[in-house]
Amino acid sequence: MMGEVKGLQPERLLEVKNLKKYFNTKKGLLHAVDDVNFFINKGETLGVVGESGCGKSTTGRVVLRLLEATDGEIIFEGKNIRDYNKTEMRNMRKEMQIVFQDPFASLNPRMSISEIISEPLIVNKVYKDKADRMKRVRELMSTVGLAERLTYAYPHELDGGRRQRIGIARALALKPKFIVQDEPVSALDVSIQAQILNLMDDLQKEFDLTYMFISHDLSVVKHVSDRIAVMYLGKVVELADYNTMFKNPQHPYTQALLSAIPVPRLDVHRDRIILEGDVPSPINPPEGCRFYGRCRYRQSNCLNVTPELKEVGPETFVACHYAGNLKPAII
């Protein structure tokens, strides 16, 4: 999983500082991503989890500048890529790619598999010679486990697992360093999901890739990630390595989220925390902790003072005033 070298300080590939993305809507300003900070080391996988509307996909897109951030810095290999102009950004895109959730919607139905995979190579003028390009396409297809006979097939002829392999081959075409995986296995059945997860693990080792893995499925995120960021309503509420997070979740939301997963075993009995109510609207969110309304441990100052993400242990960050010292709510 982790390409770590003992004794060496891990090298940071990406760092995000005070990242904000607001959308103007008729009802007001939607705070999709609100002051988010995290970093990803070279060769590791950062899992980003949260429920619908928490801002995880938006974060993935803003990091790649597929959406322009409202504010903040995106530092990739030491440089703030938000300062890059169009040409610089286009060169940059070779380094950072994305795999989308829905392999049915993210592939052009009128292009054959070889056309889809060669498109990034054509756009970036990687090969002068068509024969070289086709050689690379065949190589990519074999890397992701697509049979050569499918070279001229169209997406509708294939099942979800194979389509997702095309999406992965396309992302790998330009030999990127960093790939945002936006719910890459959510649309797949479990047996196929496991095949794709194994493939992504192999590719990460083979090509020394760094992943940002976005998912709502905590079991999957735990399986693939070195570190995990939990998001709630546009904020990162907890960030820790997967072991620490699963053994000792600190934020009340993380605790509830982990307890809510149905576990496919009979020998495990966990005390389930049932959260009341729904996620509130991200439009014009009030001051204070965004989890206030659903929290079992809320105190009076949680309503007014926004908790910052602070370090509570080695590389463990929690955005809760009472982390490690939770007391039942009196209100």
Partner: protein, 326 residues
Amino acid sequence: MNNKMLLEIKDLAIHYITVDGTVKAVQDMNLEIAEGETLGLVGETGAGKTTTALGIMQLVPNPPGKIVSGEIIFEGENLIGKSPNELRKIRGKQISMIFQDPMTSLNPVMTVGEQIAEVVKLHENVNSAEATEKAKQMLLKVGIPAERSKEYPHQFSGGMRQRVVIAIALACNPKLLIADEPTTALDVTIQAQVLELMKSLKTEFNTSMIMITHDLGIVAEVCDKVAIMYAGNVIEYTDKVNLFTTPKHPYTIGLFNSIPDIESDVERLNPIKGLMPDPTDLPTGCPFHPRCDKAMPICSTRVPANTEVQMGHFVKCLLFEEGVVR
């Protein structure tokens, strides 16, 4: 299981006859559900779970669907062959269904109160005022304030909408509730709320339930027994404890190995190789044999029969069948 049998499915087969060929969506199915019991129906896309549910409700779209053979015996009477009028009295009253997507199963131009009252008026001898009152009670039961009965589905969140669907399904106190992936469209914390609600209402009303799901975690949580489906066949059928402690069929074992386990650290998953077969062109013999790592030469020619490996534990696999040369 001393309880009275509520539903018995015997040798059921449902086919879809299409221009591309005949899809054998359900084959040789035998299941039983006692009063108050919950059966989990588990399988991947295209395994035949939803077709089974539609078959029980007698709602298989015809054409192209056709119940080719078998019996569906509900409280001693075969549902197959009943007239549309008789069936209308059963659906919504004796047997109700919850669908996966609450937005498409609710009527967007009717208030949620009206939608609950509609079922009550249809099946019970009540006037409008009484039905409206009953609708409010049902809303309260599923944890929605009664004053919201005048609101429309779009004014509710996904989890709340699914609660409304549950309220409609349980309004006439049905004997059997069929829930088709009721929480798949919901977030995990909302899923936990809805599952908790379904469990408590099921106990309160002593409803039997068929829970259709692809999530073995949900099975562990709510089901008493489980039927695992693959390519139209129930390939393993037993109570929950047997399934989780001594799964027998290689497909069931493969499913367990494919799920990342949240309770332990597994470096690498051990998925089932290959893909679901084309439903119009199923493999000969055992439909799972091309993907099975225990396949023997005979598996490609001989269709496995339903074998009882131990009391109440049925497996369709030649590894466990007597008189098979291995």
